[in-house]
C-alpha cells in the first residue's frame, strides 16, 4: 500500500483511493453499520418533515378556505359609513379584490309545500369564495343564483326549482350545495343554509335598521405577504376602535384541527429527534472504534507526508458521502411510501393531502441533519488533531488524543437550536432540550453514585463476590470512566424515550378514547313535561334516546358564606380568549342532579354520593369537575350557595370528578345529589346515538312537528373526523417508538461490541490464566447485564416521570402508573439486551491467548 506514496502523498487520487476505495472495501461492515445507523436515525425526521410540510401547506390553504379570503373585517352590525370609508382608504393602497358577505337568520317559506321555517342566509357577491370551493350536486356555483345546503334540503325536503319566499323576494332554488369548504370542521349549525346573491338580499326588505346578523368585508390582496396583512390589520385597529368590529386572518379561523395537528407533528418531530440523537451516539461509537482500528495506518500516512488536516478532511468527505447515500435512499424509499399513504392520511386528518411530494420541503431539514451529525464527530476529529501521529509509531500501543468536554459544544448548541426549530418555538424546543439535559445529568449522577456505592462495597473484599466472574464484573463497573457513562447514558435515553412514548400513548388513549356509542344528535330544551312523550316518540321512530339528563340554570352566589368573586386566571387552553373576559363577571352555570357516575366520569378525590339522595339532617352534597373546581378555586368541604332562579340553594362539595370530555357526551361541571334541587325548574338533554341517517332525519322532522321548542345539534360528522384524527395520531406515535427501539438496538449492539473489543487483551489474558470461555461469557454477562439493566430501569423510570409531568402540565391528568406499559418494554428490552450482549461477546470470547505474545 505504501509504495503508492513514492509518487507523492499529496496526490488527490491517492487520497481518494485511500479514503474511499480502500477504506470501504476493507471495512464494509463498518460502513454498512454506519449507513444503517444514520438511515434509521434520520428516517423518522425526514418522513415527518415531508408530512408536516404537506400538512402545513394544506392547513394554510385550508385556513384560507375557511375564511375564504386573506383578511376579513366583520361585526354583528353593518359598518358605519365612516368606518367603511376609513376601511377602504387603507385597503385602496394595496391592489386587491373584495366582496361583502352578510349572514342573517330569517323565516323562509317554501311555496310548494307551504311550510315556513327558520334558516340562515348567506348572501355573497361575485368572486365568492376567493379560496375554496362550493361543490354543487349538479352544475357550478354561480354568484347570482339561489342555492340551498344539502342538510337543509334534506330536512326541509326542498328540491331544485322549488320556490322560496325570502322576505319580499321569491326565488327559485337553482341547486343543492353538497360541500362548502368554508364550513371546515365545524360540522354543525343550528339552522342550515341558503345561499343568495347580496344584491338580491337587499331587495328582500329584511335589512332594515335594527336587523341583526353578521356583516363581513373580505379582501384578497393581489400580492399577498404576511407583513402586508399585519400592517393592514394594525392600521385598521388604529382607525376603527369599536371592539365590536373584528379583524380576522386565516390563521385565526384555523380551527381546532390546525392546533391539534400542529401539536401532534411537533411532538412526533421531537420524538424523532431523540431517535436521531441515539443514532448519532451510535455513529460516535462506531467512528471511535473505527478510527482506533485505523490509527496505525493514519499515523503512517501522516509520517509519509499527509497532514492531519488532510486526513480530517478525508474523513469528513467519507462521512458526507455516506450521509449523501442515506439521503438518496430515504427519498427514494419515503416518497413512494408517502404517495401510497397520502389518501389514507387525508381521510383521517380531514385534510386533502396532495400525493405530490414537495421535495424541496423534505430537503430543507437535510442540511440541519447533516450539520448535527457532523458535529458529533467533532470531538473525535479534534482528538485526531491532538494525536502525535508520526511519533506514536514507536509506542507499543497507539492511542488517540483525548477529547474534552468543550469539543461537544458545537453538537450541544446545534442540538438545542434544532430542537427549537422542530418544536416551532423557543419555549418548546428549550423545554425539550432541557429535559434531555436533565436525563443526561441524572444518568451521570446515577452512574457516579452507583460506582461510589460499588466501590464502598468492594473495599477489602476478595475477588469472589460470590464468584470471580461477578467480582471482576463489579470491579470493572465501579472503575470505568467516561465510556461507561456514555454507554449507560445512551441506553438510558433509549429506554426513556420508549417508556415516555408508551406512557404518553396510554394517556392519550385514556384521555381521548371515544366511546363506541358515538352521539350523532344532541337534543336540548326539552321541557319537563315533554320528556316522557319524547322518549316514547323516539322509540316509535326507531331512534331510541340515550343519556337523558336534567339541566338546571343557576348562579354561584356565595362560597363559605362569602360573596363569590372569581379571580382572574391565566389562559386555559380549552377556552376561547374572547369569552374569557366576560366569564370573569358572570357566575352562571348549568348543573344537574344524579347519584350515579356516567361512563365518562371518575371520582379522583373524595367519596361518591351515597345512594338514596340527601337526608334532611345535612346539606346536599355537590360534585365538581376537577379543572372547573381549580379555575373557581373550590375544594372539598366548601359550602356553596347557589341562586337557582331566585331561590337560594346550599350544598357542600363532597367529591371532585374527572370527566372525559372527548366522549362527546354532554357533561356537567357541577352535579348535585338528588335532593330538593329536583323541584327546581329544569330542561332536559338527550342524545341520539349514531344510527342510520334516514332515521335521524325523520326523527328530527317529526319531533319538530310535535315539540316545536326542542332544539337539535347534529354532531355526527364532527365526531367522526375528530376520532379519526386521534386514531392516526396514535398510530404515528407507535411507529416512531418502534423506530427508536430499532435505533436503540443498533446502538446497543455497537456499544457492547465496542466495549467488548476493548477488553480483547484482558479476555485473552484471563483465558491464559485459566478462565474457560463459559466463564468469560458469564463475566461479560454480569458486567454488561448490570450496566444495561440498571440503565434500562433508570430509563423506564425517567420516561414514566417525564410522561407524568407532560400529562399534568399539558393534559391536566392525574398521576398514574400503568404497569403493563412499564413491564412489557422492560421485558422486551431485557431480552433484547441479553441477546445483544451474547451476540457481541461471542466473538470476543474467541480471543486467543496466542495473541498476547510479542510477535502478534
Amino acid at each position: 500500500m505504501f509504495t503508492d506514496y513514492s509518487s507523492g502523498t499529496r496526490d488527490s487520487s491517492v487520497k481518494f483511493k485511500f479514503f474511499f476505495v480502500k477504506e470501504m472495501k476493507k471495512f464494509p461492515f463498518f460502513f454498512l453499520l454506519l449507513f444503517f445507523t444514520l438511515l434509521l436515525g434520520t428516517m423518522g425526521l425526514v418522513g415527518i418533515s415531508i408530512i408536516t410540510g404537506q400538512v402545513q401547506e394544506k392547513l394554510q390553504n385550508n385556513a384560507n378556505e375557511l375564511l375564504t379570503s386573506d383578511i376579513a373585517i366583520s361585526a354583528r352590525r353593518d359598518l358605519f359609513p365612516l368606518e367603511q370609508e376609513s376601511l377602504f382608504k387603507i385597503l385602496n393602497e394595496y391592489p386587491h379584490r373584495h366582496y361583502k358577505i352578510i349572514d342573517i337568520y330569517s323565516m323562509i317559506s317554501n311555496l310548494r309545500t307551504g311550510t315556513t321555517r327558520l334558516a340562515e342566509i348567506r348572501a355573497t357577491e361575485k368572486g365568492f369564495p376567493f379560496y375554496g370551493k362550493m361543490t354543487l350536486k349538479n352544475g357550478e356555483f354561480e354568484s347570482d343564483q339561489l342555492y340551498i345546503s344539502k342538510d337543509l334540503a334534506d330536512l326541509w325536503q326542498v328540491q331544485e326549482n322549488d320556490e322560496l319566499q325570502i322576505g319580499e323576494l321569491v326565488l327559485k332554488v337553482s341547486g343543492v350545495v353538497e360541500e362548502d369548504s368554508s364550513m371546515g370542521l365545524r360540522g354543525f349549525s343550528l339552522a342550515p343554509r341558503i345561499y343568495l346573491p347580496l344584491s338580491k338580499l337587499l331587495t328582500t326588505g329584511l335589512l332594515k335598521p335594527g336587523a341583526t346578523g353578521g356583516f363581513a368585508y373580505h379582501f384578497k390582496l393581489n400580492d399577498l405577504t404576511l407583513e402586508k396583512v399585519q400592517r393592514i390589520k394594525t392600521s385598521i385597529y388604529k382607525v376603527i376602535k369599536d371592539s365590536a368590529v373584528r379583524i380576522t386572518l386565516p390563521e385565526d379561523s384555523s380551527e381546532q384541527t390546525g392546533r391539534v395537528i400542529n401539536t401532534l407533528t411537533n411532538f412526533m418531530a421531537l420524538s424523532a429527534l431523540i431517535g436521531l440523537i441515539l443514532s448519532l451516539v451510535g455513529v460516535f461509537y462506531l467512528y471511535q472504534s473505527h478510527l482506533l482500528a485505523r490509527l496505525k495506518d493514519l499515523c503512517l500516512l501522516n509520517l509519509h507526508g499527509l497532514t492531519k488536516r488532510e486526513i480530517i478532511v478525508g474523513i469528513i468527505a467519507q462521512f458526507s458521502f455516506i450521509f449523501f447515500l442515506v439521503v438518496v435512499v430515504e427519498l427514494l424509499f419515503i416518497i413512494p411510501l408517502y404517495k401510497t399513504l397520502a389518501p389514507v392520511l387525508s381521510t383521517n386528518l380531514g385534510i386533502e393531502l396532495s400525493p405530490e411530494v414537495n421535495v424541496a420541503s423534505a430537503l430543507t431539514e437535510i442540511p440541519f441533519l447533516f450539520g448535527l451529525s457532523l458535529f458529533i464527530l467533532v470531538p473525535l476529529l479534534l482528538g485526531l488533531m491532538r494525536t502525535p501521529m508520526g511519533l506514536q509509531l514507536k509506542a507499543s500501543k497507539l492511542s488517540m488524543g483525548r477529547f474534552r468536554f468543550w469539543d461537544f459544544m458545537p453538537f450541544i448548541v446545534s442540538l438545542w437550536l434544532f430542537s427549537c426549530y422542530l418544536g416551532h418555538s423557543f419555549r418548546n424546543g428549550s423545554l425539550f432540550f432541557i429535559s434531555l439535559l436533565m436525563v443526561f445529568l441524572l444518568s451521570t449522577l446515577v452512574v457516579r453514585g452507583g460506582q461510589w456505592i460499588l466501590r464502598k462495597f468492594i473495599k477489602n473484599k476478595g475477588l469472589l463476590l460470590p464468584t470471580i466472574e461477578n467480582g471482576i464484573a463489579l470491579r470493572s463497573l465501579s472503575r470505568s470512566g467516561h465510556k461507561l457513562t456514555l454507554s449507560f447514558l445512551s441506553l438510558a435515553m433509549g429506554a426513556t424515550l420508549i417508556s415516555l412514548i408508551l406512557q404518553l400513548d396510554k394517556m392519550i388513549l385514556k384521555e381521548f378514547a371515544l366511546d363506541e356509542n358515538k352521539p350523532s344528535l344532541f337534543i336540548f330544551d326539552i321541557q319537563e313535561e315533554q320528556m316522557e312523550p319524547l322518549v316514547s316518540h323516539a322509540r316509535e321512530q326507531g331512534a331510541p334516546l340515550a343519556y337523558i339528563t336534567p339541566m338546571i340554570r343557576a348562579r354561584l352566589e356565595k362560597v363559605n358564606d362569602k360573596k363569590f368573586v372569581r379571580k382572574k386566571r391565566s389562559y386555559d387552553f380549552r377556552s376561547r380568549e374572547d369569552d374569557e373576559e366576560n366569564r370573569f363577571r358572570s357566575n352562571t352555570l348549568n348543573l344537574t342532579y344524579r347519584d350515579y357516575l356516567t361512563g365518562s366520569e371518575k371520582i379522583i378525590s373524595g367519596k361518591p354520593f351515597p345512594q338514596g339522595g340527601a337526608p334532611d339532617d345535612r346539606l346536599p352534597y355537590v360534585s365538581l369537575e376537577k379543572r372547573w373546581a381549580q379555575r373557581m378555586d373550590l375544594e372539598i368541604g366548601d359550602k356553596l350557595t347557589f341562586d337557582i332562579q331566585g331561590v337560594e340553594f346550599e350544598g357542600q362539595v363532597h367529591n371532585i370528578r374527572e370527566v372525559k370530555w372527548t366522549t362527546f357526551y354532554p357533561n356537567f361541571f357541577v352535579t348535585i345529589e338528588p335532593s330538593l334541587i329536583e323541584a327546581a325548574p329544569k330542561t332536559f338533554l338527550a342524545v341520539l346515538p349514531a344510527g342510520p341517517k334516514e332515521t335521524k332525519l325523520t326523527f328530527q322532522r317529526s319531533t319538530v312537528e310535535k315539540f316545536p321548542n326542542i332544539s337539535f345539534i347534529d354532531v355526527e360528522e364532527l365526531i367522526g373526523k375528530l376520532s379519526g384524527l386521534f386514531v392516526r395520531a396514535r398510530q404515528a406515535i407507535e411507529v416512531i417508538s418502534w423506530l427508536s427501539l430499532a435505533v436503540g438496538l443498533v446502538i446497543l449492539y455497537g456499544l457492547s461490541h465496542d466495549q467488548v473489543y476493548r477488553r480483547y487483551y484482558d479476555l485473552a489474558l484471563m483465558k491464559s490464566l485459566g478462565f474457560s470461555s463459559t466463564r468469560l461469557r458469564l463475566n461479560l454477562l454480569y458486567e454488561f447485564g448490570v450496566l444495561f439493566l440498571s440503565a434500562m430501569t433508570l430509563g423506564l423510570f425517567l420516561g414514566w416521570m417525564i410522561a407524568q409531568i407532560v400529562g399534568r402540565e399539558v393534559f391536566k391528568l392525574a398521576l398514574s402508573v400503568d404497569w403493563d406499559r412499564l413491564l412489557y418494554p422492560a421485558g422486551l428490552l431485557t431480552i433484547l439486551c441479553l441477546v445483544t450482549i451474547m451476540a457481541s461477546s461471542w466473538r470476543a470470547v474467541r480471543a486467543r491467548p496466542r495473541e498476547l505474545l510479542s510477535d502478534s
Binding site: 507499543s396 500501543k397 476478595g462 475477588l463 469472589l464 470471580i468 467480582g471 471482576i472 470491579r475 470493572s476 472503575r479 470505568s480 477488553r759 487483551y761 484482558d762 485473552a764 489474558l765 484471563m766 483465558k767 491464559s768 490464566l769 485459566g770 478462565f771 474457560s772 486467543r848 491467548p849 496466542r850 498476547l852 505474545l853 510479542s854 510477535d855
Partner: protein, 218 residues
Amino acid sequence: MMKVIELRKSYGQGESRVEVLKGINLEISPGETVALIGKSGSGKSTLLSLLAGLDRPDSGEILVQGQKISSMSERELTNFRAHNMGIVFQQFHLVSTLTALENVLLPLELLKRSHSLETAKNLLESVGLSHRADHLPSEMSGGECQRVAIARALAIKPAILFADEPSGNLDEETGERVMELLFKMVVETKTTLVLVTHDPDLAKRCSRIIHLEHGTLL
C-alpha cells in the same frame, strides 16, 4: 519436568503455508533456567506458545511433569495451565479493570487457594509494590506493571514460568531492574524458567541457552 518430541507447527493455508517449527526435540529439567534465543521470525514465540499450552502443535508431543499436554482437550489444557504454569508477557498484560493487588489475587482466587489475600499481599511486597496495591494498571509505569505481572505469574507457585521478552518494552534501566527481580524470585522459589529473548547478554544469565533458527534448534 518438560519433554518435547518432534514438535511441528505451520501457519497459513495452501500457497502461503509457512512451516515455523520443523521438528523440535527438547528436554528441560526442574529448576533449570532456559533461555530461548533467536532472531525475529525464528519461531521462538511460536515455540513458547506451544510449550505454555497457548496453542496446539500440528504434530509431535509435549509432556509436562509426565502429562501429555499436546493431546489434552481445551478445557483440560486450560485447567492444567492454570495450576502449573505462569506466563509473563512482553506487553505486561494485566487486567485493566483490576488493581495491582487484585491482579495478583486473580489466579489465586481462580484456583480457590486458601489465604489468597495474604499470599497476594506478600507477593506484592516481595516485588516492592505494596504501595501500589490499589492502583490500576493505567496508573502505573511499564516497569511497575511488569513487576506486578511477575508477582501474578508466581502467585500460584507454578511448576514452570514462561517469560516472553519481558524487558522488551522497557527502557534499559527499568528492564535491568525487572530482570534482576525475575531471576531473584525464580531462583528463590526454585521455579523452572523458560525465557524467550533476542538479547544474548540476558540469555547468558540463564543456566542453559537454546538457539532457534528457521524453526530448528541449533
